[in-house]
Every structure is written in C-alpha cells, then in structure tokens.
C-alpha cells in the first residue's frame, strides 16, 4: 500500500517537471489552442468515470457515475473538436493576395 503511494508520488513529481518544461517555449499566438488542447487532455477523467460507473454497487454510485461519464465525455469530445477547429485556421493559406501584389508590381 505504502509502496503504491510512493510510486504515484514519484510519477506526480516527475510529471510536474515535464509539464513545466514542455510549455516553457510556446509562442503567444498558440496560448489559446494550447489551453484548449490541455483542456481536452484532462478529459481523460473519462477513464476514471468509466471505472467508477463500471464498478458501482448501489443506485447512488450508478447515478453519480452515469453523470460523471456524461460530463467527462463532453469534456473530451468538445475539447478535441474545438482545438482542432482552432488549429485548422493556422494552416498555411495559398498566397492569393501576394500573387495579386506581384501582378501589380510587374
């Protein structure tokens, strides 16, 4: 029991440093997609929600677990779709305006 706790605490500590390290050099234009993307990632609570609903013994647990799965699914699905929609806009566009400019210049 104590060993398991220690193992989780180790994972916690190491992940804190990973989390800080990978964010350190993000350009500000990507702050919003990053926030939205990490929002989707904490939707992994869906796995936890599935486990509590899947192991429920009483009606109370079943109801709470059911609600948890709904909310977590909203978080995961909504999070990924919104982020994807945002990032879709960052695609390099065909340079129509630049082409026009060249025409005028020549």
């Amino acid at each position: 029991m104590g060993n398991a706790l220690l193992q989780y605490a180790t994972v916690l500590m190491l992940t804190i440093f990973v989390g800080i390290e990978i964010i350190a050099k993000v350009p500000s234009i990507l702050h919003t997609p990053l926030m939205s993307g990490s929002n989707a990632i904490h939707g992994v609570i869906l796995v936890g929600a599935m486990l509590v609903l899947g192991s429920s013994n009483t009606t109370l647990e079943t109801v709470l677990g059911f609600l948890a799965v709904i909310l977590a699914t909203l978080n995961v699905v909504g999070g990924f779709v919104v982020t994807d929609r945002m990032l879709e806009m960052f695609k390099a566009k065909p340079r129509t305006t630049a082409a026009k400019k060249d025409e005028v210049a020549s």
């Binding site: 706790l5 989780y8 992940t15 804190i16 990973v18 989390g19 990978i22 964010i23 350190a24 350009p27 500000s28 234009i29 990507l30 919003t32 997609p33 990053l34 926030m35 993307g37 990490s38 929002n39 989707a40 990632i41 904490h42 939707g43 992994v44 609570i45 796995v47 936890g48 929600a49 486990l51 509590v52 609903l53 899947g54 192991s55 429920s56 009483t58 109370l60 709470l64 677990g65 948890a68 799965v69 909310l71 977590a72 699914t73 909203l74 978080n75 995961v76 699905v77 909504g78 919104v82 994807d84 945002m86 990032l87 806009m89 695609k91 566009k93 026009k100 400019k101 005028v104 210049a105």
Partner: protein
C-alpha cells in the same frame, strides 16, 4: 502477458501521446498533428478501459456507459463545431467546467464505493482534495462562462469585505478537510461539496473584463489537479500523468498570460481590476475635443499611404468585420500599398484569439506581426488603422503611472504618421480606462459600427 498488464501498457502509450501532444501544440507547424495524436491516445485509453477488470470482475453497466457517452457526444460535437469563433473562450470555459465536475463526481463516487471498508487517511485526503478542487473549477467555470456569454455583467462584481469573506470561505474549506480527516465524519463530505461550490463562485465574481481568460487558464489547471487527485484515489497512473501535466503546464501558461498583460497573477486574481472606471481622470475628460472624420476621409488617407498597419481588437470580432477588413487589406495591396496586421498578445479575449479570427477570414499568415515586430514597423508606417482595439493601444500603459494598465506592453499606434481610430462611441474599452490616443492630434476618429464603416471605406477606396 496478462490482460491487466496489456491494458496498463496501453495506458502508458496513451500517457506518452499526451506529452507529445502538448509538445506539438507549442509549435505552429505541428500543433494540429499534436492535437490529433492526443485524440488517438485518448481513444486507445477509453477502448482499453472497456476490457479492464475492477475488483476481480469485468465492468458492469457497459450499456449505461455507452448511453452516457452517446449523450455526451451528441451534445458536444454540434456545440463545438458550430459555435462562432468569437464565442471560443466561453466554450473552453464550459468544457473545462464539466471536466472539473466529472473529476469531482468520480472522487465522490469512489468514496461512496470504498466507504464501507474504512479507507486509509490518505485516501480520504485524496478524495477531499479532488472534490474541493474539481467543484471549485466547475462552479468557477460556470460563472466565467456566464460573464463571457454576457448572461451577467462582464465587469468585476464586488461587495464590502469580499476578500475577507473569500479568505474565510477558503480557510473554512481547509478546516473542514482537517475535521473530516481527524474525526472520520465522512458525512461532512457533502458540506465540503457545497462549500466548494460557493467558493468557486465567490472566487470568480470579482474577476472581470480582460482578466477572465487568464482565470479560465487557471481553472483549467485546477481541473488537471482534480483529475490527478482522482488518479491517486483510483490508483491510475494515466490519470495522475495527464492531470498533473495539465495542472503544471496550466499554471505556467496562466503566468505567461498575465505577463503578456504586464501584471502579476495575484494582481489579476485579487485586485478586482477595472471595477472603478477611471475614477482618477474621468471627470471633464469627455469635454475635450476630438477630431472625427467620415469613411471617405479615411479612404483618401489610406489610398495615399505607402505603408498601412492594421491594429485589430476584439471589437472587430464583435462586429463580425474581419472579412471586410481582409477585403480592405487586399484592396490596398492591389494599389501597391504595404499592409500589415499588428497583433497584440491579448487582442481578442484570449492570447492568440485574434490570430484565429483573422486566419478564419483568410488573412495571409505572413501579414500578421507580433508586438515587437509591429512596433518597429510602425515607426515607418503612414497610417495605423485601429479597428475595435482600445486598451492595447492605450499610451497610458507607458506614461501614466496611476493607470491600472501601467506596464502592459502596448502597440505604439501613435508612432505612425496618422492614426485612424474606428470606434463605436467614446466609451472606454474592456478594461474600462480612458484612452489618451483618442485625443492625440494625429488621430482621426471614425464613429460607427466597424463593419459598416469598413464597408464604406472599401467602397471609397475602390472608387478612388
């Protein structure tokens, strides 16, 4: 390899994809790929979980799980797909809030589940923390959503003794946790739940205006921590890794965002910024003369320029004028005029929000300039066209030590030869502060709805 080991291995793969995804999200090229990778990782984790054994038997209620997921998908996909891009911040707020709510529910349910077996003290602590943080995130996000959606006032809501009351609420939460741990009175969990709900609301009420996005980032980080706490309770490395990643990176991101506004995080959270609307210099300021012009005047000025810097702000998005603006930019370019867009880091309602909005309107990525680059370009610009921005070009941030936005980096629109300021009225901006730039002799104000005005300017430029 046993089934349990295989599932744990798949969880490890999933956790790795989350780390890769966050790394990918940090660069414009790989951001979309990163998001996709995380989605695949999430799918792996969810599918693997269906085959997991808990307490020595397969998952019960698989049908219920599928129904609940279906409900979630049916609600989430259309919402996320079809909400307007300007409503993005509140969408992130609400998806974050439900995540916090889910984490809180998972902790509660697990606690009810293991209740009979007299859990160890540290298990109780994990549950209590999960409930406290998750619920604060839930109710806080709900209020943030209401503020951004303008269901309630976006300005800070303050009342006498607010900070004292919030401090008492926070302290009461901690004391309650200690009481539950010491006495084992687990029924008090429900009291903690209620208290956390109120705390989330009370914490968010005094934060308003441009600070709400920073708050959402912080609440996002809270949800991550609540997920990590649930991970401890359930004994899941995956939840601990994913939750902690979001928690740690979220706090850093929150600090980066407040730094972009030239303020400290505690100042953002506790100062009820912008609640006093220019109490200092407000009186008599309205009486000062400003120069206003017609869209045709603006068109003439623009047509004879050789370098134009456009400074868009959230007002542009509100007026849905980004497409007309792009048209104006293209029209000017076809006359051989150089056009750039100067993007302040906090233009729009979230950092990077304006880039998203302009990209949606097909503005070429290469024409967007960040703050420093924009400020050096402005020195040689003939016209700075301010559309729907206000606080981000307010020189008070440089000159006026008493101004609440003093120290925030701004776009120096006043460096340009001429300033065209498209504005609906003389009303102050999001932060509620008077803007000296309006009274600058270089400035010409063009009153009216941004979309109308821009349409008229485009027509006039075409005609000239």
């Amino acid at each position: 390899m046993s089934r349990g080991t295989l599932i744990d291995l798949l969880y490890l793969v999933s956790a790795t994809t989350f780390i890769l995804a966050l790394k990918g999200l940090g660069s414009p090229k790989r951001a979309r790929l990163g998001n996709g990778i995380a989605a695949v990782g999430m799918l792996i984790a969810v599918v693997a979980t269906f085959f997991k054994q808990v307490d020595g038997h397969n998952l019960h209620h698989v049908a219920l799980i599928l129904i609940a997921m279906a409900i979630g998908i049916v609600v989430a996909v259309p919402t996320a797909r079809y909400v307007r891009m300007t409503a993005m911040p509140q969408l992130v707020a609400i998806f974050n809030g439900v995540g916090g709510g889910a984490a809180s529910l998972v902790s509660i349910t697990e606690f009810v589940h293991i209740h009979s077996t007299h859990p160890a003290t540290y298990v109780t602590l994990e549950v209590l923390l999960g409930v406290l943080i998750g619920t604060v995130s839930f109710s806080g996000s709900a209020i943030a959503y209401a503020k951004l959606q303008e269901l309630m006032t976006g300005r800070p809501v303050t009342y006498p003794g607010q900070q004292v009351i919030n401090a008492i609420l926070g302290a009461a939460g901690l004391v309650l946790i200690i009481i539950i741990l010491v006495t084992g009175q687990t029924g008090l969990l429900w009291v903690l739940l209620a208290l956390a709900f109120v705390l989330g609301i009370a914490f968010v009420l005094p934060i308003g205006g441009a600070d709400v996005p920073v708050l959402i980032s912080l609440l996002n980080s809270f949800t991550g921590l609540a997920v990590a706490a649930s991970g401890f309770t359930l004994g899941s490395n995956l939840l601990i890794v994913a939750g902690t990643l979001v928690g740690a990176s979220g706090i850093l991101l929150t600090r980066l965002m407040s730094k972009a506004m030239g303020r400290s995080l505690s100042n953002v959270l506790f100062s009820a910024f912008g609640s006093v609307i220019t109490a200092s210099g407000g009186t008599g300021a309205d009486a000062r003369p400003v120069r206003s012009g017609s869209p045709e005047d603006a068109a003439v000025l623009l047509s004879f320029a050789s370098r134009v810097v456009i400074i868009p702000g959230y007002g542009l998005a509100v007026a849905q004028a980004q497409h007309v603006l792009r048209e104006l930019g293209e029209e000017l370019e076809s006359k051989g005029i150089e056009v750039f867009y100067a993007i302040h880091p906090v233009a729009g309602r979230m950092p990077g929000h304006m880039n998203v909005l302009l990209a949606e309107a097909n503005v070429p990525y290469e024409q967007l300039m960040e703050l420093d680059e924009a400020n050096s370009e402005l020195q040689t610009a003939d016209v700075a066209l301010v559309v729907g921005a206000n606080d981000t070009v307010n020189p008070a941030a440089k000159d006026d030590k008493t101004s609440p936005i003093y120290g925030m980096p701004i776009i120096n629109a006043d460096l340009a030869e001429n300033v065209l300021f498209l504005k609906r009225s003389m009303r102050p901006g999001f932060a509620g502060i008077e803007n000296e730039l309006l009274y600058n002799p270089k400035t010409t104000l063009i009153f009216g709805d941004a979309k109308d005005t821009l349409t008229k300017i485009v027509a006039a430029v075409k005609a000239s």
